[in-house]
């Protein structure tokens, strides 16, 4: 049973290089499959090139999903990073 959560990006430059690196690294530390969805496109959250190619701007509403044995933990972990990096809320 997959879990997901929607957050709003508040960083004025959107999801740029450094936070994207942090997000992908965090996602990569879990075994669950993870995706990030923006503007109707769903991308593997463990792919740095995928995440950057979304070009997520400030004000965007994105949905993070996790599916797998550690999905609850994975979702909470990634959402926590988004907040602690000042990326979104």
């Amino acid at each position: 049973m997959a879990v997901n959560q929607t957050v709003t990006i508040t960083d004025e430059t959107g999801v740029h290089a450094r936070p994207a690196t942090v997000l992908v690294n965090k996602a990569g530390s879990y075994t669950s499959d993870m995706t990030i969805e923006y503007n109707g496109k769903s991308i593997n959250l463990k792919s740095i090139m995928g995440v950057m190619s979304l070009g997520i701007p400030q004000g965007a509403s994105i949905t993070i999903s996790a599916d797998g044995p550690d999905e609850e933990e994975a979702l909470a972990g990634v959402v926590e990073v988004i907040k602690s990096e000042g990326l979104g809320e």
């Binding site: 430059t13 740029h16 290089a17 450094r18 690196t21 992908v24 690294n25 990569g28 593997n44 463990k46 792919s47 740095i48 090139m49 995928g50 950057m52 190619s53 070009g55």
Partner: protein, 571 residues
């Protein structure tokens, strides 16, 4: 033993083994493979080796250059583990039975093209990251060495065709004792970096990469531009003693660090430094700089995806002013265009960028960008002794417009209740011959002149200073240049203003006596040239040199001028 000569770019002597920084041949053949799973594990091995290597590079960069420079390698590492990149490669090997090189190249090209076609500059730059990373994997697949300057862990001399800013950012001064390149001149990026890292360098040797083998013993003499490949033991001992002399001389120079610059007949001139970032101030102070004669603000605008904000600029200007205390700091407003472009401004490509839309021309047209910089400068002005200089001024009207914008922003700030220094001198950089010719008219309106010789020489001689085929025309001692320089100095003094110089010429041991005789007030140069220049000036008599003025200005060739000065100053 073999000897080459190039352009002496940074003082000092280095003796060490050659480390060739060249991109290896990465061409490959397409093969049908029998066993895809073996081929896939070959690919994974190459990726894993690349990862280990990048981890090492990242650690090196973190230690020697700081977290910020190391960040780029974190992104490279993530690309190496990106399933969206790796899975299509293994799929291709499996389904098409092609070798790993073919799969890697095909998938990489797809991504590179995808990123290159994006309309966001930042994304386009990511294409370069993918290229870097896939080249590294390719090198491991082909079993060829991929050189990494950051991985150097023994004393070497780096040999390269040219060094890019990112190459130089990876150099560790502890191990890289010097470098030498095929191309470049005294004002090319690599030469400027060498001087700020204080490592000896010879550039523009044309053939060094072809002449040297990895591991050859090399001597680099950054003082006269000599490079010796596989020297004899006599040469090694000869250069070792020259190296020791240079070290001793450096210690002698250091004693003059806190002394004013005074000629043998008691005339004081100011020796200032050219800087690019607030971090350079440490070098200015350690080398006894009496001020900053040129703060190139372009670096605030380069290497980013968007214009710097007013606050960002304010912090940098404030930091420089505070660190310099009450010593003068001449800030040059944005000089972009020409050879320094900003991708995010999307400037049209020009046939003749050095004669085109750049510096003050761009700033007066895009006054939104200009006003932001002026506000940041004005706000920072209360923290020190700020002087503002406009670059590439060709007409009085341009100066008047720029000054009017500055005064407008000043009024606005004062009305908003922000404190602004009331005594900011406003001057211009003289690098266009038209301005040098009518300096007298300018002198009535500006507070100072600073002569930018790198451009003034190339515009006066109509010779691109980056083009090696016409580099013989780059003649700082040409009588035409001396007459223009003299005209500017006389014009300034007639109105009670000061004249400085902020090109490479100001730190040149032949030019210094000439300029002192012409009455130049301020000499601004690379920080490391200051102490040698102070030592030289202490031995020169301004009165004597001034007496040669008419003779020098009426000479016919640069050679004549140089020979005359060498004779008079025993050089």
């Amino acid at each position: 033993m073999k000897q080459l000569s190039g352009i002496a770019a940074s003082n000092g002597i280095a003796i060490a083994k050659a480390f060739k920084l060249a991109v290896p041949d990465l061409s490959f053949e397409q093969r049908k493979i029998e066993n895809p799973s073996d081929e896939i594990s070959r690919l994974h091995d190459a990726i894993n080796t690349s990862k280990t290597e990048l981890e090492k590079i990242k650690e090196h960069a973190r230690k020697t250059l700081g977290d910020e420079h190391a960040e780029i390698f974190s992104a490279h590492l993530l690309v190496l583990s990106d399933p969206e990149l790796i899975n299509p490669m293994t799929d291709k090997i499996e389904s098409e039975k092609v070798n790993a090189e073919v799969a890697l190249d095909a998938v990489a090209q797809t991504f590179i093209q995808m990123f290159e076609s994006m309309d966001n500059e930042y994304m386009r730059e990511r294409a370069a990251d993918i290229k870097d990373v896939t080249k590294r994997i390719m090198a491991h697949l082909l079993n060829v060495t991929f050189p990494n300057p950051a991985l150097i862990d023994e004393e070497v001399i780096v040999i390269a065709d040219d060094l890019t800013p990112s190459d130089t950012a990876q150099l560790n001064k502890q191990f890289v004792k010097g470098f030498t390149t095929n191309i470049g001149g005294r004002t090319s990026h690599s030469a400027i970096m060498a001087r700020s890292l204080e490592i000896p360098a010879v550039v523009g040797t044309k053939t060094i990469t072809a002449e040297v083998n990895e591991g050859d013993m090399i001597i680099v003499d950054g003082m006269d531009g000599t490079v010796i490949i596989n020297p004899t033991s006599d040469e090694i001992s000869q250069y070792t003693s020259k190296q020791e002399q240079f070290e001793q001389q450096k210690q002698e120079w250091a004693k003059l660090k806190d002394e004013p610059t005074v000629s043998s007949d008691g005339v004081h001139v100011e020796l200032a430094a050219n800087i690019g970032t607030p971090d350079d101030i440490e070098g200015v102070i350690n080398n006894g700089g009496e001020g900053v004669g040129l703060y190139r603000t372009e670096f605030l605008y380069m290497g980013k995806n968007e214009l710097p904000t007013e606050d960002e600029q304010y912090e940098s200007y404030k930091s420089v002013l505070e660190q310099m205390g009450d010593k003068p700091v001449v800030v040059r407003t944005l000089d972009i265009g020409g050879d320094k472009e900003l991708p995010y401004l999307d400037l049209p490509e020009e046939m003749n960028p050095f004669l085109g839309y750049r510096a003050i021309r761009l700033c007066l047209d895009r006054d939104d960008i200009f006003r932001t910089q002026l506000r940041a400068l004005l706000r920072a002005s209360v923290y020190g002794n700020l002087k503002i200089m406009f670059p590439m001024i060709a007409t009085l009207d341009e100066f008047r417009q720029a000054k009017a914008l500055l005064l407008e922003e000043k009024d606005k700030l004062v009305q908003e209740g922000t404190k602004v220094n009331d005594d900011i001198e406003i001057g211009i950089m003289v690098e266009i011959p038209s301005t040098a010719v009518i300096a007298r008219q300018f002198a009535k309106e500006v507070d100072f002149f600073s002569i930018g010789t790198n451009d003034l020489i190339q515009y006066t001689m109509a010779a691109d200073r980056m083009n090696e085929q016409v580099s013989y025309l780059y003649q700082p001692y040409h009588p035409a240049i001396l007459n223009l320089v003299n005209n500017v100095i006389e014009a300034a003094h007639a109105e009670g203003k000061w004249a400085g110089m902020c090109g490479e010429m100001a730190g040149d041991s032949i030019a210094i006596p000439i300029l002192l005789g012409l009455g130049l007030d301020e000499f601004s140069m690379s920080a490391t040239s200051i102490l040698p220049a102070r030592t030289q000036i202490k031995q020169l008599s301004k009165e004597e040199l001034a007496s040669y003025k008419d003779q020098l200005l009426s000479m016919s060739t640069a050679d004549e001028v140089e020979a005359f000065i060498r004779e008079k100053t025993n050089q």
